[in-house]
C-alpha cells in the first residue's frame, strides 16, 4: 500500500484542526472479569444499552447487559490484552459504520474497515448500525421487479424491489449460487448490491469476491465479511452494518439489494454471546429475543415512498421511491424447516425459495422446489412479459408432480396423461440453468413463449437446454431489433408475439441443435 507524504500530513493537519483540548468529563468503570470475549465491568453508572465502551489499547466493546452492579459488554475484536482491573470508559456513542457510495467495490469487515488491501475507505458519512425501520406511513407497496436472471425464480417466485425473499435449504444445495446470480444480474439495473458474509470460511468469501469481480459485479457491490475466525460479536453485528450501508441508498431514492449469507450463523453467534452473558437459554438454547434480532433486521428492508425520500433528503431528491430488497439465506439441517430459526425467518419474510438436496443431486439446478417455494408480494411486481408467459410453468410442474406419482403404478397411460407427463418433464428440464449465466428478460421471454406454444414438444428432453441456447444465439444475431424491443418495453405486444413465433419457426426450420 502506497501513501504519499502529502496525504499523511494533510490527514494529520485535519485531525489536529479538529482536536480540542478541553477538559473531558466521562464515566469510567473497572473490568472485573474477561471471559471468552465477554467483559464484566463495575461502575459505568451512566452507560446506555448498546453504547460503545472504550478499553485500553484502542479496543472497543458493546454494552449489552446493564445489571444492578455490573455491565456486561462484548469486545469487538481481540480481547487478549484486556485484563482484570483495567479502566474502561463510556464514549456516549452508539456503534456506527461508514456509509456512502465510496464503499462500493470494497470488501469491509463488520465495522466498515477495509480488508481488501485497497487502501482506506474515504467515506464522508457514518451512520448508526441499529436503526428503527420505516413506519407504515413512509412505505409504499412493492411494484417493481428485481430480475434475478434465473428462469425458475423470475417465472415462479418473482421478487419485487423492497421485498424480503428467503433462500432456504440444506448445505450444498446452491443457496449462495442463487444469491450471487441475482447480484450478477443487477448489472445496469440501477441496483447497488450488498453481500453480507456471516461466519463463512475466509476462502469461500474470497471465492465469492473473485466471482463477482470476474463477472463485473463488484463495480456495484459492497461486500461485508465477518468470517468464521472473527469474533461472535462481529458475526452478530455484520448484518446490521450491511443493512445500514444499504439504507443509505434506500433513503436517497435509489434501489439496493442485500444478501445475508447466512442468518443461521448470525443466530448461532448471538446464542454464543447470550449464553456467555448468562442470559437464560430457551428453545434450542437460543435466547428469548432471537426472533427479534431477525425481525428488526428484515423489517428494515422496505420500499419507501416519495415523501419519505424527499423529507429525508430535505427536498434534494423529489418524486423517487427508494427500496432495500433483502435475500436472507437460512441453512436447514436435513430439510427440517420446523427448527426454531428457519420457522422464525419463514414467518418474517415475504416468501421463500426452497432448495432441496434430492433435486440438486438429480441434476436440477437451481434445485428449487416449485411446490413449496412462494413469493407473497412479488406477483404484483413481476415483469409484464414474464408474468404473461410464465403463468403456465408453475401449473405444468404441479400437474406433473401429481401425475408422476400416479404414473408409477399405472403401466399404460392414455394419450392426454402421457402428453402432460412429457410436458412436465420438458418444463423441469427447461428450468435448469447454469451458474453465473443469468438470462435477460428478452431471452427468458423467448424461452417461455416457445415452451408455452409447444415448440419444445418435439425436442428430446436431453436436448432442451441445447435447443434453448442456440435459439437465444439465433435470436440475438438475426432478430436483434425484435429482442431489443422486448428488452426495453419489457412487454410482448400482439404483433411482436407473432413476429417472435415466426422467428422461432424460422429457427426450427433452419437450425440443428
Amino acid at each position: 500500500m502506497q501513501l504519499s507524504t502529502s496525504e499523511i500530513s494533510e490527514l494529520i493537519k485535519s485531525r489536529l484542526e479538529n482536536f480540542s483540548t478541553s477538559a473531558e468529563a466521562r464515566t469510567q468503570g473497572t473490568v472485573i472479569s474477561v471471559t471468552d470475549g465477554i467483559v464484566r465491568i463495575h461502575g459505568l453508572s451512566n452507560v446506555m444499552a448498546g453504547e460503545m465502551i472504550e478499553f485500553p489499547g484502542n479496543t472497543f466493546g458493546l454494552a449489552l447487559n446493564l445489571e444492578r452492579d455490573s455491565v456486561g459488554a462484548v469486545v469487538l475484536g481481540d480481547y487478549e490484552h484486556i485484563t482484570e482491573g483495567d479502566i474502561c470508559k463510556c464514549t456516549g456513542r452508539i456503534l456506527e459504520v461508514p456509509v456512502g457510495p465510496e464503499l462500493i467495490g470494497r470488501v469491509v469487515n463488520a465495522l466498515g474497515q477495509p480488508i481488501d488491501g485497497k487502501g482506506p475507505v474515504n467515506a464522508k458519512m457514518t451512520d448508526k448500525i441499529e436503526k428503527v425501520a420505516p413506519g407504515v406511513i413512509a412505505r409504499k407497496s412493492v411494484s417493481q421487479p428485481v430480475q434475478t436472471g434465473l428462469k425458475s425464480v423470475d417465472s415462479m417466485v418473482p421478487v419485487g424491489r423492497g421485498q424480503r425473499e428467503l433462500i432456504i435449504g440444506d448445505r450444498q444445495t446452491g443457496k449462495t449460487a442463487v444469491a450471487i446470480d441475482a447480484i450478477i444480474n443487477q448489472k445496469g439495473q440501477n441496483m447497488t448490491c450488498i453481500y453480507v458474509a456471516i461466519g463463512q470460511k475466509a476462502s469461500t468469501v474470497a471465492n465469492v469476491v473473485r466471482k463477482l469481480e470476474e463477472n463485473g459485479a463488484l463495480a456495484y457491490t459492497i461486500v461485508v465479511a465477518a468470517t468464521a475466525s472473527d469474533s461472535a460479536a462481529l458475526q452478530f453485528l455484520a448484518p446490521y452494518s450491511g443493512c445500514t450501508m444499504g439504507e443509505y441508498f434506500r433513503d436517497r431514492g435509489e434501489d439496493a439489494l442485500i444478501v445475508y449469507d447466512d442468518l443461521t450463523k448470525q443466530a448461532i453467534a448471538y446464542r454464543q454471546i447470550s449464553l456467555l452473558l448468562r442470559r437464560p437459554p430457551g428453545r434450542e438454547a437460543y435466547p428469548g429475543d432471537v426472533f427479534y434480532i431477525h425481525s428488526r433486521l428484515l423489517e428494515r428492508a422496505a420500499r419507501v415512498n416519495e415523501e419519505y425520500v424527499e423529507k429525508f433528503t430535505n427536498g434534494a431528491i423529489k418524486g423517487k421511491t427508494g427500496s432495500l430488497t433483502a435475500l436472507p439465506v437460512i441453512e436447514t439441517a436435513a430439510g427440517d424447516v420446523s427448527a426454531f430459526v428457519p420457522t422464525n425467518v419463514i414467518s418474517i419474510t415475504d416468501g421463500q425459495i426452497f432448495l432441496e438436496t434430492d433435486l440438486f443431486n438429480a441434476g436440477i439446478r437451481p434445485a428449487i422446489n416449485a411446490g413449496i417455494s412462494v413469493s407473497r408480494v412479488g406477483g404484483a411486481a413481476q415483469t409484464k412479459v414474464i408474468k404473461k408467459l410464465g403463468g403456465g410453468v408453475r401449473l405444468a410442474l404441479a400437474q406433473y408432480r401429481e401425475l408422476a406419482a400416479f404414473a408409477q403404478f399405472a403401466s399404460d397411460l392414455d394419450e392426454a396423461t402421457r402428453k402432460q407427463l412429457d410436458r412436465g418433464r420438458m418444463f423441469t428440464e427447461l428450468m435448469k440453468q447454469a451458474q453465473y449465466a443469468p438470462l435477460s428478460i428478452s431471452n427468458m421471454a423467448i424461452t417461455l413463449l416457445a415452451a408455452n406454444k409447444g415448440y419444445f414438444d418435439d425436442v428430446p428432453t436431453n436436448k432442451v437446454l441445447a435447443f434453448e441456447t442456440s435459439l437465444h444465439g439465433f435470436m440475438g444475431s438475426k432478430y436483434k431489433a425484435l429482442m431489443d424491443g422486448i428488452e426495453s418495453s419489457k412487454d410482448l405486444a400482439g404483433d411482436n408475439e407473432k413476429a417472435v413465433e415466426a422467428a422461432i419457426q424460422d429457427f426450427k426450420a433452419t437450425n440443428a441443435y
Partner: protein
C-alpha cells in the same frame, strides 16, 4: 453467579434502615467498620474459610474477639451472617453501608489528583464548583501525581473529569492513530 455487591446489598440496606430508625447510623458505621476490619484479618480469614470450623464456634470466636464493640443489633447481624455462611462478604456490606450513609448525608467522595500541590484556596474553589455541579456536599481527598505532567484529574464516583496534560496527550495520540 450473583456478584458480591449484589449479595451484600440487602444486608447493608437492612443495617442502614435499622440504624436510621434507631438514629444510630454512626454507631452502625463504627460497628461495621470494626467487624470488617476483624474479618479481613489474615488469621480470621483463614478461620472463616476453614471448612472444619463449626458455625457455632465461629460465631462464638468472632463475638469474643469483637468484645463489647458490637451492640445487640451488631451481634445479631453477625449471627445472621454466620447462619447463612456469608461472613466473607462483611467488607462489601460495610462499603455498601457507607455508600448508603453518604447518600443520606448528601455527601460525595471526590478524589482530586493534581500534578503539583494545589493551594488551599484553589482546593476550596474547586470543591465549591464540584458541589455546584453535583448538587451534593463534596468530601475531597487531594493527592499529587507528577505523572500527570500538568493540570488536574477529578474522580467522583464513576465520573472522571480529566483536565490533565497526560490525558490530553493520550487523546491526541488516539486521535492520530484512529
Amino acid at each position: 453467579m450473583a456478584e458480591i455487591s449484589t449479595i451484600a446489598r440487602p444486608y447493608a440496606v437492612a443495617a442502614y434502615k435499622l440504624g436510621k430508625e434507631s438514629k444510630s447510623l454512626a454507631k452502625w458505621s463504627e460497628m461495621l467498620g470494626f467487624a470488617a476490619a476483624v474479618s479481613s484479618d489474615a488469621q480470621m480469614q483463614a478461620y472463616i474459610q476453614d471448612p472444619k470450623v463449626v458455625s457455632s464456634d465461629l460465631l462464638a470466636t468472632f463475638l469474643k474477639v469483637a468484645g463489647d464493640k458490637l451492640n445487640e443489633h451488631g451481634q445479631n447481624l453477625i449471627k445472621v451472617l454466620v447462619e447463612y455462611n456469608r461472613m466473607s462478604i462483611l467488607p462489601a456490606i460495610t462499603s455498601a453501608f457507607e455508600e448508603l450513609k453518604a447518600q443520606d448525608e448528601g455527601t460525595l467522595d471526590a478524589q482530586i489528583i493534581a500534578a503539583a500541590k494545589p493551594s488551599a484556596a484553589e482546593i476550596k474553589d474547586l470543591v465549591k464548583r464540584l458541589e455546584a455541579k453535583f448538587g451534593k456536599k463534596i468530601e475531597a481527598t487531594v493527592s499529587v501525581d507528577s505523572e500527570l505532567i500538568g493540570g488536574i484529574k477529578i474522580i467522583v464516583g464513576d465520573t472522571v473529569i480529566d483536565a490533565s496534560v497526560k490525558g490530553q496527550l493520550q487523546n491526541l495520540a488516539y486521535t492520530l492513530s484512529a
